[in-house]
């Protein structure tokens, strides 16, 4: 399917893919902040397996952009020590599922060092993780770790939906004094869209309405935002106006925007790739029921991955919420009648 909304962006915006937008942001971060460092597996000479760090080692040298041994816990632990030495590490974990070996350092150290040290050892670490599915990759290359990370006190979690957001949110995350897990929707790396380089930082907090609507709110993040926009486009043909709320920040969740949107539309469908049970959709549903209980016309619907290991590429499309399944979810909330 084409990305209609992204294509109709007006020139003279720069047309960049998300991979290019992130690459550009990283270059600007390194240029502006001489304490910023990029490191990870294959990020140097190769420029990353997704070429997100392409050319950065050539531009900034092997002190600023360097390859590490193939060990994710080592990457994170080293990042923590560098942060203690006053650096601003921007490590990469090559794929979502490769973050599992680093989970000990992320949870027991990165997320807690500021707390443990009573604020004397801040952790301005931005961990980039190519995330989510959709590229027919081997096992552990298509996972959604937002619920895991968002559950951990001391971490902030963000996922951009398009090149514009990727560019600005990454620069914003890298300027923050706290650890941020930056989840890049790898299936969206190559989609181009207009990027306005001048967006101001106030608009980088919280959620954004990706498309206004009146009948129900689709709540999504990362790669699912563009799919929800497609759904909204199709639904509009039948006269159903769906609002698409792009959460962007998964920790903290923008509770005010979430409440405002669902208060208007009175119906909510949360869409994510990760397994349903204890998925972030459960948190979203709880927040919506708390803030919108009196106005809700239907229970919050969840259209998600299943409680199964992320399947092989052949079955990927059966697992990731597709347009039909999202439309079924929309139908359920629209047709719901109180018993």
């Amino acid at each position: 399917m084409s990305d209609v909304l992204e294509r109709i962006q007006e020139t003279p915006l720069l047309q960049l893919s998300m991979q290019q937008a992130i690459n550009r942001a990283l270059g600007e971060i390194l240029e502006a902040d001489d304490r910023a460092l990029i490191f990870g597996e294959d990020v140097g000479v190769l420029g990353g397996v997704f070429r997100v760090t392409d050319g950065l080692q050539q531009r900034f040298g092997a002190n600023r952009v360097f390859d590490t041994p193939l060990a994710e816990s080592g990457i994170l632990g080293t990042a923590i020590g560098l942060a203690m030495a006053g650096f601003h590490p921007i490590p990469e974990v090559q794929f979502d599922g490769f973050a599992y070996p680093a989970v000990n350092q992320i949870i027991t150290q990165l997320a807690r060092m500021n707390y443990r040290s009573r604020g004397t050892l801040p952790m301005p670490v931005t961990l980039r993780v190519p995330s989510f599915g959709g590229i027919r990759a081997p096992e552990h290359h298509g996972e959604s770790l937002e619920s895991l990370f968002a559950h951990v006190p001391g971490l902030k979690v963000v996922s951009p939906a398009n090149p514009q957001q990727a560019y600005h949110l990454l620069k914003h995350a890298a300027s923050m004094p706290d650890p941020v897990i930056f989840m890049e929707p790898k299936a969206r790396y190559w989609n181009k869209a207009g990027v306005d380089l001048t967006e101001n930082s106030a608009s980088l907090e919280g959620a954004v309405i990706a498309r206004p609507g009146t009948h129900a709110t689709l709540i999504a993040w990362g790669g699912m935002v563009s799919r929800c926009l497609q759904v909204a486009e199709l639904a509009a043909e039948d006269g159903i106006e769906l609002e698409v709320l792009d959460l962007r920040w998964l920790k903290p969740i923008d509770e005010a925007q979430l409440a405002a949107s669902v208060s208007r539309t009175r119906r909510a469908i949360v869409v994510h790739e990760g397994p349903r049970t204890i998925g972030l959709g459960a948190e979203v549903a709880a927040l919506v029921s708390q803030s919108c209980f009196d106005t809700l016309r239907a229970p919050v619907e969840r259209v998600t991955g299943f409680d199964v290991p992320y399947p092989s590429g052949d079955l990927e499309d059966e697992y990731i919420p597709n347009i039909d399944r999202i439309l079924f979810g929309v139908q359920r909330v629209l047709e719901y009648r109180r018993g």
Partner: protein, 367 residues
């Protein structure tokens, strides 16, 4: 000096020179203070003053010798949870240190930045990688970033040559953790100025070294990383100090990481909740512990006529006074306000956390 089982460190001598009589006596005073404070802390637990403590009885020479070899103006120590002797030697505020054992604050209340002693660490092997990252940062500080000289990060001293050294403290148990392998490999690849200071105290709670460390020595692994290593009698404070100074000088010169393995013995329980009688006998402890590290040092000082019985009596009395002062400080420690649960999660808090803090306050203040 005791025979070294393994010593591949090319640097044989440092320019630190022999210790003066004053320094030797200082070293004894620190050992005596640490011994008294350690045994006192066990007593405090029995008295109900603190809920728990991890004794380091028998490891005084290893810890004080190591700490004495650190330049606390530019090196940085990454401890775990049994490095009280290192903390004391570095001048860490001991009431602040003991606050973690009083369950006041996990990381302790001392200032890790000012003292160059990282927060108290409960994860075995958890901080070893941090030492590598910090140390690599010292390398980067000494090099040119972005075509201009980088800021020095506040810990380097212009008047001294060489790099700040990160000292990672770990034990035989921690050496089984994958992070320790990753740390040694990263350090060797990055040529980071790190000293991996292993206290091989024979026991990881109830599991003896022979069931923990294949081959019996952590230092022996260093060869696989092309790292020099020194295995040293960890109960000989002068031998430990010498090994530490050589290792630090090697790392400081930019020659890369070093492993120091101090062979010692955990004479006490793993913690005040442990019962060693379930896994070793008193006879085992007697044989394993060998001669007390403090009495060994006393013998040396007497033989060299650096100290006499009156000095030891005075030093021991001072140690008791010091421990009593610290006890007074620990008694006086009060709970931190509950709001601090929320205050230190982030540098920049979030609306969600702010709301939880407000709710906690509203629902707690009436009690």
């Amino acid at each position: 000096m005791a025979t070294r089982a393994l010593d591949t460190l090319p640097l044989r001598e440092t320019d630190a020179g022999d210790l003066t009589p004053d320094q030797l006596r200082d070293l004894y005073r620190i050992l005596a203070n640490v011994r008294r404070l350690d045994t006192s802390a066990v007593a405090w637990q029995r008295q109900g003053l603190i809920p728990g403590y991890a004794p380091m009885l028998g490891q005084e020479a290893a810890q004080v010798g190591a700490g004495f070899g650190v330049d606390k103006t530019r090196d940085f120590v990454f401890p775990t949870y049994r490095e009280m002797g290192v903390a004391y030697t570095l001048g860490v505020n001991m009431v602040g240190y003991m606050s973690t054992h009083k369950a006041i604050w996990h990381g302790g209340l001392y200032d890790p930045v000012a003292t160059h002693f990282a927060p108290f660490q409960a994860v075995v092997g958890g901080s070893v990688l941090h030492a590598v990252g910090w140390a690599h940062g010292q390398t980067l500080n000494g090099q040119t970033l972005n075509g201009t000289a980088a800021a020095t990060g506040g810990t380097a001293s212009a008047s001294k040559t060489g790099l700040g050294v990160g000292l990672a403290f770990l034990g035989d148990g921690a050496s089984s953790q994958g992070d320790v392998h990753e740390a040694m490999n990263f350090a060797a690849i990055l040529k980071a100025p790190v000293v991996f200071f292993v206290q091989n105290n024979g026991w990881a709670i109830s599991v003896p070294t022979e069931q923990q460390v294949a081959g019996g020595s952590v230092a022996a692994r260093a060869a696989g990383y092309s790292m020099p290593a020194v295995q040293v009698d960890g109960n000989d404070v002068l031998a430990v100090l010498d090994a530490t100074q050589r290792a630090v000088a090697h790392a400081r010169a930019g020659l890369g990481p070093v492993v120091v393995e101090a062979m010692t013995y955990r004479r006490g329980p793993h913690s005040t909740s442990d019962d060693p009688g379930r896994y070793r006998t008193l006879e085992d402890e007697k044989i394993g512990g060998g001669e007390d590290p403090l009495s060994r040092f006393r013998t040396i000082l007497l033989a060299e006529k650096v100290a006499d019985a009156a000095f030891f009596a005075e030093a021991d009395a001072q140690a008791q006074t010091r421990a009593d002062e610290i006890r007074d400080g620990v008694v006086a420690l009060t709970s931190r306000p509950g709001s601090e649960m929320f205050d230190f999660v982030f540098q920049e808090s979030t609306p969600t956390l702010g709301a939880q803090a407000r709710q906690w306050r509203e629902e707690s203040e009436h009690v």
